[in-house]
Symmetry: C2
Subunit: 420 residues, 2 copies
């Protein structure tokens, strides 16, 4: 059954009947609880299981489009926040299998009621929609009694050399990442969750991504970023579960005591990286390749011939210089030069109108999941900020860190998961 | 041959050989000159013919995604502008059949040269890419000797009730509309044309659209806008060539004398319409439907049952009131209430981050082609601005009018078309 057909089936029901049918479908389709089934195990019906040991949208094969929103909680009412997290769970799960955000949906509530779904995805298949939630450090202040549940590693990222962060594009109490192969489906998911949060949360910032810049599965073709280079070739992949355990998933021992709710989850680092593409576009090919450390056409490491060749940092050219320059991006960011640090990248290309100076405002919306941002992203970014020649062409304009809880069992929801 | 395969074939060539092969392909695939073949006649290889009686991207079946850029000319050098228009023609044509923007492209120029294509669409099929050009009234000032070639109807749109236009999102000397089913392909096209224009043009504003809101062919399913309603049901369609001649294409008699270059072209009205979706989303279904004048689920006119039923403005309900309210959007905008005025809509949904007030900045990027904006868009928008209840939920934040020339024959280019 493809996504469209399934939606059509679901759409014929209404109210409670729909909710029941829908719940049955998703439980049948996905692992009902902490079964350990990897989320990357996606059927070809365009439906990614919402529940499981991990949240979907992390190791799930990266979908083509993104809409991400960072929200601030605008109430001090702990129960209202908890209730919203519970309602969000239901809505997100429904939307991931192609149903409307709530029973009743677009028209099922009748003429006198406010529709419980905004409708712009009514006829669309989910396109592997995933909805992933995370919490910022600011949520664990004294408003909601969550202070003791704050994971130790959920503390502000340090400033990096060259940062030009806009507070209006940084931080946030809560993040929702919606990914789908259809951008209208991703936007619809975010929009409906924001709608459900009226009076409880307000949009702090939001980012659309038009093209993925990472593969998170060996089955995916490596995409290209706005520098025109293949990006994320050496990324962690969902198939390498041992590496994911080591580098992506928070271990129980990482979050002792009341912070244990995060065990099995992951940290999300979001960095809005403006690329000065008009300067890059006037740079000769060889210079571009030496800055990146890879060949532009195939994506092979300099000195190699295939995209997935091992990076040989010792290899020298006829001039006696390393084939991969000492300041090349791939060298600085490589785990062999960072005490083994690796991360799961899941970023997107963006274009947001113009910068007001006659240029497109375009770049890379860097998203990466990891076990501890302070032990992984921070040393990596310090190395890059200090030596990467690429810095002449980029600028970090937004930054945020979120703790993303593990997946949900059959009877769990985001409210009970965070608060009890 | 599908788009990917064709690209692969093209990519194996280089320099002049590639250009020749490419030209051969496109001429073989499309009408070589003003043959009158409608541009909507698109093969399933994802390639829309660039040349023909009309520019592609007007009656072409609306692609899923948009990137549009408005540019200002930053030189007074007439020859530089003309030369750019010529170079743009070559690049646009190449990209529409999946080749790189220029011979040499991503890597073919060798290590010491600046790449002639930025590369982010290197592995992507064109996805029905079309590149459409238009010129704003400001281009016909005294800078380039074009004053006498300015079409009479290319004059500023009047102010409308409720307009809240941002000059930074309005106007522009030149517009380039790139549409594709793949947003990365559309962004790549705009970015490379902007790159080619360095020193001659600067970006004034740019807009991404993530989902089409109109069908321009009877073969297309009607999409939904951010109000969740089907949009553009009653749109002009490419199959109705008589209506297009009457309402979309500029007739020779419309543009006498030196303005004759526009005969066979069309005017493009662009309006960025912010939707206050969070208010809309708290409005009961019946109120939404009465504001629009259609049923939300199927898109049928109120009082009808099928999406494509004729609008019956005389029909009354049991309460004696018209089934389609006198202030309904579909009634106010309908040709029967506007002395027969019709337009070809080709708009897109957008989401541009946040408004800074806690809401998503989302809406409809209205694009419409017509024979004379002052006789078509202006009376229509006056009727809507004066009486449409929808105005409580929308705000026009950007506006522009462009004159889009006709299509190009085999030996024509945009430079010679405008300047001689």
């Amino acid at each position: 059954m493809n996504g469209s057909t399934r939606r059509a089936v679901l759409a014929t029901g209404a109210g409670a009947a729909l909710a029941t049918a829908a719940a049955g479908l998703t439980y049948a389709a996905g692992p009902a609880g902490a079964t350990g089934t990897p989320q990357a195990d996606v059927g070809d019906d365009g439906i990614v299981p919402f529940r499981g040991e991990r949240q979907a949208g992390i190791t799930t094969a990266a979908q083509d489009r993104l809409h991400l929103v960072a929200l601030d909680v605008v109430t001090d009412d702990r129960d209202a926040l908890r209730d919203l997290l519970t309602r969000w769970t239901t809505a997100a799960e429904r939307m991931t299998f192609g149903a409307e955000a709530a029973p009743g949906g677009v028209v099922g509530g009748g003429p006198w009621k406010v529709p419980q779904d905004t409708g712009e995805a009514y006829d669309l298949a989910p396109g592997h929609l995933t909805v992933t939630i995370g919490y910022g450090a600011s949520l664990f202040d004294d408003r909601f009694g969550l202070a003791d549940r704050k994971p130790e590693a959920l503390r502000e990222l340090p400033a990096f050399l060259g940062d030009d962060l806009d507070p209006a594009r940084s931080g946030g109490d809560i993040v929702i990442q919606a990914c789908s192969d259809d951008p209208q489906v991703a936007v619809h998911a975010v929009r409906n969750l924001v709608r459900l949060g009226f009076g409880v949360v307000a949009v702090r910032w939001s980012q659309l991504g038009f093209g993925r810049t990472s593969s998170t599965s060996q089955s995916q073709v490596t995409p290209r970023n706005m520098f025109g280079f293949k990006d994320g070739t050496a990324n962690l992949k969902s198939e390498d579960t041992a590496a994911l355990d080591e580098h992506v998933w928070v271990a129980p021992s990482d979050v002792p005591g009341a912070a244990g709710w995060l065990a099995g989850g992951s940290y999300l680092v979001a960095r809005r990286i403006r690329m000065h593409i008009e300067i890059w576009d006037r740079t000769p090919l060889m210079e571009q390749e030496q800055i990146v450390g890879r060949d532009k056409k195939v994506g092979a490491p300099l000195g190699g011939s295939g995209e997935f060749d091992e990076l040989d940092f010792a290899k020298k050219g006829t001039d006696g210089e390393p084939r991969i320059p000492v300041t090349a991006h791939v060298r600085l960011a490589h785990h062999s030069n960072l005490d083994g640090v690796r991360i799961l990248r899941r970023g997107y290309n963006f274009t947001d109108g113009t910068d007001g100076q006659g240029h497109l405002d375009a770049g890379l919306f860097f998203l990466a999941f990891m076990r501890d941002a302070h032990r992984q992203f921070v040393p990596m970014q310090r190395a890059l900020a200090g030596s990467d020649v690429m810095n002449e062409y980029i600028e970090h304009t937004g930054s945020a860190l979120f703790a993303c809880p593990p997946g949900l069992g059959a009877d769990d929801d985001w409210g009970s998961q965070l608060f009890t």
